[in-house]
Symmetry: C2
Subunit: 290 residues, 2 copies
């Protein structure tokens, strides 16, 4: 089949690499409104050719939308307006409720599959793309009952072939969980970066004192503003709730520290430690890579 990828950043570019590697497509067409991105993707051999949106639509059997979530909604509707009967379209954005709502009554809704492959790094752009980004990771398909069977089958085939496990969720439920488990991490990390930059006027001090602990906690603060600002806006209700809980817990921690109550600080840390049991649960891990 012919695959068109709209948006040749980390996700679009890495999908292109693995789609070619697994011989899923006979041709990969790249579309990117940023001319430089498109050129880089072509020169890195991520795609076979660069085209404009209309031409790429006419030819494609499978269309992947991998652009920031605010633009994805607009482009998805343009795409659905103009596709052939059997063409499948999927997006890969980190918020799902809005995009699902925006296509709810579209006549070609069944050609669309709302997906969120849980994979990424703090780097972005076509040169950040690499093979294996999706291997043994999880992909969430939202509201699958709204998609046609043919669309789900093609999408799942693609994701499974590049190594992903698939689960299903309601788009609203997805956004709530994503607020806590993914988006909140990003805000805590952006804010940590901001706070340390504010106080430490001497950059050399930050650099020298930065152990692997700080580097890991602040890693996400390097993430793309073009990608993340629209995600926060689209998931603002859930995120606001998550931030309220996070700030409440921080204030509790601060109170214990102000009181130098080591017994309760110890207990709070112990409670947080439970995250290890969950993240390193071997039974779940075996299930995840099945």
């Amino acid at each position: 089949m012919i695959v068109t990828i709209i948006g040749l950043g980390l996700i679009g570019g890495s999908l292109a690499i693995d789609i070619r590697k697994q011989e899923i497509a006979m041709k990969i067409i790249g579309v990117d409104k940023d001319y430089k991105n498109a050129e880089t993707a072509l020169s890195l051999d991520l795609v076979d050719e660069i085209s404009n949106l209309n031409e790429a639509l006419a030819e494609a059997d499978f269309i992947i939308i991998a652009i920031p979530v605010d633009q994805a909604r607009v482009v998805l509707n343009q795409v659905l307006d103009n596709i052939n009967t059997n063409t499948v379209v999927m997006d890969v954005g980190s918020t799902k409720e809005g995009i699902c709502k925006s296509t709810e009554i579209h006549k070609n809704r069944r050609n669309f599959v709302a997906t969120h492959p849980i994979a990424g790094t703090e780097n972005y752009g076509p040169s950040a793309a690499f093979s294996g980004l999706f291997k043994d990771k999880l992909c969430i398909i939202c509201d699958p009952e709204k998609s046609g069977d043919f669309a789900i089958a093609k999408t799942e085939f693609l994701y499974r072939t590049i190594g992903m496990k698939i689960i299903y969720m309601k788009s609203k439920e997805h956004d709530l969980h994503a607020a806590y488990v993914s988006h909140l991490s990003h805000i805590s990390s952006f804010t940590l970066g901001m706070t340390v930059l504010e106080i430490e006027n001497n950059e050399k001090t930050i650099f020298e004192l930065a152990g692997s602990g700080f580097e890991s906690t602040v890693r996400l603060a390097k993430s793309s503003p073009d990608m993340w600002a629209p995600i926060f806006e689209q998931n603002s209700e859930h995120l606001s709730q998550a931030l309220d809980s996070y700030i409440k817990n921080l204030k509790y921690f601060k109170k214990l520290i102000d009181m130098k109550d080591t017994v309760k600080i110890h207990a709070a840390i112990k409670q947080a430690n439970d995250i290890r049991r969950i993240l390193e649960n071997e039974d779940l891990m075996i299930e995840k890579i099945k």
Copy 2:
């Protein structure tokens, strides 16, 4: 020389491995009040023998105190009371002002060197120890003018031989910077763990949705409560100030998200992104590993 290591956890154990590897000591004696830890360290061949504190002191030329910072103060004073004239003692704790104050007027203060090797992982105990933990990392020596030249020379020789670069700081200044660049990261991570555990009753959901982003931001939440509760208590004034700034910035972020002000969210993320320029600064990096 004969080295005694008091506390056979991640730091003490990893020091033991590299001290032996670099042939710095003709014998390494381990002391640990936890009998199981001591046994594990011996069976893993981290130390040559296990002894009690008094016997280990009598024999040692170099004593390393690698126990939680509350106990370190007490043990350090006991050690200084009982050492030979030329024996050097160093601690490796993450807070420095308190321990320096507690020994300020000790008659053997010049035998003591206050150090903080900036290295570690979220794991703990003797079985978490590994070779190379300290390589190309930074070690801070605090208030060096309070230590004798012989003590500084021996300590620096040890750290340099296992691959560390050394810088100097006032202990008070150290604790302020550590509050922002290290201790705050730990609290943000513990609190993130707590918050996600609170909302996500379904452990499987956390596990499945946890991308590499969440895992990296929450990694420090796995850290030892025995180690961290006393650090937070000892650095409570600076940490309280750091937490105030962090909470203030989080509230600002939350306000922008509530207002769906993508322009300002974008600007705030851009500001946080500056951490990349500092952490990946090649000029500083070259200087760091020199």
